[in-house]
């Protein structure tokens, strides 16, 4: 049968639908579970954010590390639980996301599905809709991005879709927050009367339906339990498609199935799955043709115009590099005043307050030291970087939300090919700039195990947010005037080394051709400030939790290692100092062969941001001298407030200086910063600028942190890849830092 004939017959599907026994759950139960399903880029997350906002809870799907968003709330007297399914193009069982979505729908049987459909891209979105309808779960369609479709001059017959699919269709715009109330009301109405809102059973054409009827007969006679357990229509279609997973679970197959499919195979060829996909696609195409009218002459879209520049053969990569540079510069400039402020507050008012409190209750001296030098200084030295991390996450979120991230992957595809990967692997790498841990988890979007492993191996070379604190301290001390450029050089070094190592791995561990690549580039959209803030918070939260929990724990541990055995006079004789002293000679050629530097690096094995905290502990002696003028509590609070305002002012001023206007008083600032941060001043005595650069290079490259290690082991189920990463990175870190220091000395940059 031709696709044309199929279409004519199928829409609207004429068959009356008799609800199956056991298919629907009673509606009286109090919480309505709503699964939200849709294509990637259909605006699903924006829609959920707009509906649920701060009530959103982000977790993981059980057993896997794909993000799971959930929200529970009351609406119009009903209790609604929204479950966000991963974005998929289809419900076939070929990617992790598809398996999660379909397992949830089939096994958990939500009360209803909200199918988020991109109104500007109806046909492809309806392909998934058709598959969702097979599940026989009541459904409401959110015809999202409706405003854009209208602006493009599309005329969509909403009533027509409702009639043909038998479900409620609500035009929405998640970004403009329109249609959301109607959507929720319709969802509640549907949940209250599921029988009246079952989607139509679509007709796949005579040959397929005949085979389906035959199998249905066999199932009812021989396997009634199966029909009870699974949505009948879905089960039939999956059995016919030869879905291995379903066949295994149900134990149905063999000769009976062969017999049922004999005619179908003779008429349409052996690949039933392709036949079914064709039938579904024909349904989606037919439906689209019925309900959508496009304007005669499509305008050249803005997206296309931007792409012509951004994806340009010659200018694409320079534009990408420039965008990255601006991002890092803005991150650094915007957040630095706030970071300085937090630092000053912690080493000033907070420390004094804790000392005063502990003094008041006559706590022993060592607990005062533990609280101020261990807990407050340790965690505080990391908290200083919260503004930086959040600023970076904000810009990364913006790049993701605006659609540029996918372009970056496109532009970088050619470069990625040289290291045996394709552009899609670039996205985890770019995420690695925020934090390596989510980046390693993000490798699961790559279908091929070879790509996954290679990408995960290279991700740690992407300089993550945790390394930023170390750079910032050293940049503040040694290169205050060229902060942005030095920072940029480190990130670029990571990228270039990733290319080099990728090339090496391609020739050794991963011989063979890079697999095919296909990826959608979403249209450019201006992300709303609200969704930017929500996602920035979600990403930054992990850092805060880390700082609050185990960085705190490690700070305390490091304090003990630095102060044990009991009564050590000099830090050098502490446990950490002793180990550091053993390692130190190995770091001598790199320019920082001191026990202090190596002890900090050892502590940083747990998490790289700890390097800074430990340095604070080691280098800073107790300063009892300047306690003469102790300000009162009132004065302290005033200082906290006024200095914050000053920081905000500086931050705003820095934005202008980012774009070429010379920094107002860089030198003065630097002097002040050094004054404010005793650690920076002390570092200046300990390192030469060249050694400082070698040190931050080493921090960039030496082994991935413990959390990243856990992520890698969890993701691959073996220690193998982490072991390789550990080995090659240690080697690389030592080699490159040595090259920087010795090379620098050779060309006369001073030792």
């Amino acid at each position: 049968m031709t696709a044309e004939a199929l279409r004519k017959e199928n829409i609207p599907a004429a068959e009356a639908r008799v609800p199956q026994r056991g298919e629907l759950r009673p509606v009286e139960k109090r919480t309505i579970t709503v699964a939200v399903a849709g294509n990637p880029n259909a605006g699903k997350s924006t829609l959920i954010n707009a509906i649920a906002g701060s009530r959103l809870h982000v977790g993981n799907w059980p057993g896997v590390t794909v993000e799971k968003k959930e929200a529970s709330f009351e609406y119009a007297g009903a209790r609604i639980r929204l479950i966000d399914l991963p974005g998929t193009y289809s419900l076939s069982p070929y990617t992790q996301e598809e398996i999660i979505a379909r397992d949830y729908l089939v096994n958990e049987r939500p009360d209803l599905i909200i199918n988020v459909v991109d109104a500007t891209n109806l046909e492809r979105n309806l392909y998934l809709t058709v598959q969702l309808m097979d599940l026989g779960i009541p459904m409401v369609m959110a015809l999202n991005i409706f405003d854009e479709a209208q602006a493009k001059g599309y005329r969509i017959d909403v009533g027509g879709i409702e009639k043909m699919l038998g479900i409620a269709v609500i035009p929405t715009s998640a970004t403009k927050k329109s249609g959301l109330d109607e959507l929720l009301k319709s969802a509640i109405a549907t949940a209250k009367d599921p029988q009246g809102h079952l989607p139509q059973q679509l007709n796949y054409g005579e040959d397929i339906e005949m085979a389906a009827d035959f199998i249905a007969g066999e199932l009812i006679a021989g396997h009634p339990a199966l029909i009870e357990r699974y949505p009948r229509r879905w089960l039939l279609l999956k059995l016919m498609e030869g879905d291995g997973h379903v066949q295994k679970v149900t134990g149905f197959g063999g000769n009976l199935l062969e017999e049922a499919l004999r005619h179908l195979k003779r008429a349409h060829g052996e690949d039933i799955e392709a036949v079914m996909a064709e039938a579904r696609y024909a349904l989606a195409t037919g439906l689209t043709r019925e309900v959508l009218q496009k304007p005669e002459l499509p305008k050249t879209e803005l997206t296309e115009k931007i792409d012509r520049v951004v994806l340009h053969r010659v200018f694409g990569i320079p534009i990408f590099l420039a965008a990255m540079w601006i991002m890092f510069k803005l991150t650094f400039d915007l957040s630095k005043p706030f970071a300085d402020w937090i630092g000053a507050m912690i080493s000033g008012p907070f420390k004094r307050l804790a000392e005063a409190l502990l003094g008041a209750i006559h706590a022993p001296a060592w607990t005062v030291s533990l609280a101020t030098d261990g807990v407050i200084a340790g965690t505080g030295n990391v908290l200083v970087f919260v503004p930086m991390i959040f600023a970076m996450m904000f810009f990364i979120t913006f790049l993701e939300g605006s659609g540029y991230m996918a372009r970056a992957a496109f532009v970088m595809d050619r470069a990625m090919h040289s290291i045996g990967l394709h552009g899609k692997s670039f996205i985890p790498m770019l995420l690695g700039v925020g934090c390596n841990v989510p980046a390693i988890y993000a490798t699961r979007t790559l279908e091929n195990p070879r790509d996954k492993a290679l990408t995960a191996l290279l991700v740690p070379l992407m300089s993550c947010g945790a390394r930023l604190p170390v750079y910032v301290v050293f940049i503040g001390a040694f290169f205050p005037k060229h902060g942005g450029s030095v920072l940029w050089s480190l990130y670029m070094m990571g990228i270039l080394l990733a290319i080099g190592m990728g090339f090496v791995f391609k020739k050794t561990l991963f011989k063979g051709e890079a697999p095919m690549f296909i990826m959608e580039l979403p249209p450019y959209r201006m992300p709303s400030l609200r969704s930017l803030l929500i996602h920035t918070w979600e990403k930054g939260k992990h850092f805060l939790i880390k700082a609050g929990t185990y960085i705190l724990a490690v700070s305390i541990m490091v304090w003990f290692l630095l102060n044990l055995p009991w009564g050590v006079e000099h830090k050098k004789d502490s446990y950490l100092g002793q180990v550091g002293a053993i390692v130190a000679p190995a770091l001598k050629p790199l320019g920082f062969g001191t026990w202090e530097a190596s002890s900090s690096l050892i502590a940083g094995l747990v998490a790289k941001e700890i390097v800074v905290g430990t340095m604070g502990e080691i280098y800073l002696k107790k300063e009892a001298a300047n306690e003469a003028a102790k300000p009162s509590l009132g004065e302290e609070l005033k200082e906290v407030g006024s200095s914050f305002l000053k920081a905000a002012g500086e931050s705003a001023a820095n934005i202008t200086s980012t774009f070429g206007i010379t920094s107002i008083s860089a030198e003065e600032d630097a002097a002040k910063a050094a004054e404010r941060s005793p650690l920076r001043a002390e570092l200046k005595n300990q390192f030469t600028p060249l050694a400082a650069y070698a040190f931050i290079t080493f921090v960039l490259l030496y082994m991935p942190c413990v959390v990243a290690a856990v992520a890698m082991v969890q993701e691959f189920g073996t220690w193998k890849w982490y072991g390789i990463a550990f080995g090659y990175q240690m080697f690389l870190a030592w080699g490159v830092a040595c090259l920087v220091f010795q090379g620098g000395k050779l060309i006369g940059l001073g030792g």
């Binding site: 696709a3 193009y89 289809s90 076939s92 070929y94 990617t95 991109d118 500007t120 891209n121 046909e123 492809r124 392909y127 030869g242 060829g269 052996e270 690949d271 799955e273 392709a274 996909a277 696609y281 997206t303 296309e304 792409d307 994806l311 053969r313 996918a406 992957a409 496109f410 595809d413 050619r414 090919h417 394709h422 552009g423 279908e447 095919m516 690549f517 296909i518 990826m519 959608e520 580039l521 979403p522 249209p523």
Partner: protein, 83 residues
């Protein structure tokens, strides 16, 4: 019939065949093949427009912009229909 990869930017064509890789043959393990090509809307009968013919290639299919490998684009056969 020409491979999709030979279209010039701006030109359009109708997909006439998708030459599946051997792993994509009926009964083969589909997890390893490129059937996502079809899920993403590149199917026989579809009109595609070449937006950017480099490496990779950027296509417009309906309202989506799809980036594909050159290698993959050479396995998709089309009939040219001009600009």
């Amino acid at each position: 019939m020409v491979p999709l990869g030979l279209l010039n930017p701006g030109e359009q064509g109708v997909i006439t065949a998708i030459r599946l890789t051997p792993t994509c043959a009926p009964g083969a393990d589909r997890q390893k093949c490129d059937c996502r090509v079809e899920d993403m809307g590149l199917r026989v009968g579809k009109t595609v427009q070449m937006l950017n013919n480099g490496s990779p290639i950027l296509l417009k299919v309906d309202e989506s912009r799809i980036a594909v490998d050159r290698g993959l684009a050479m396995k998709i056969m089309i009939k040219e229909v001009g600009r």
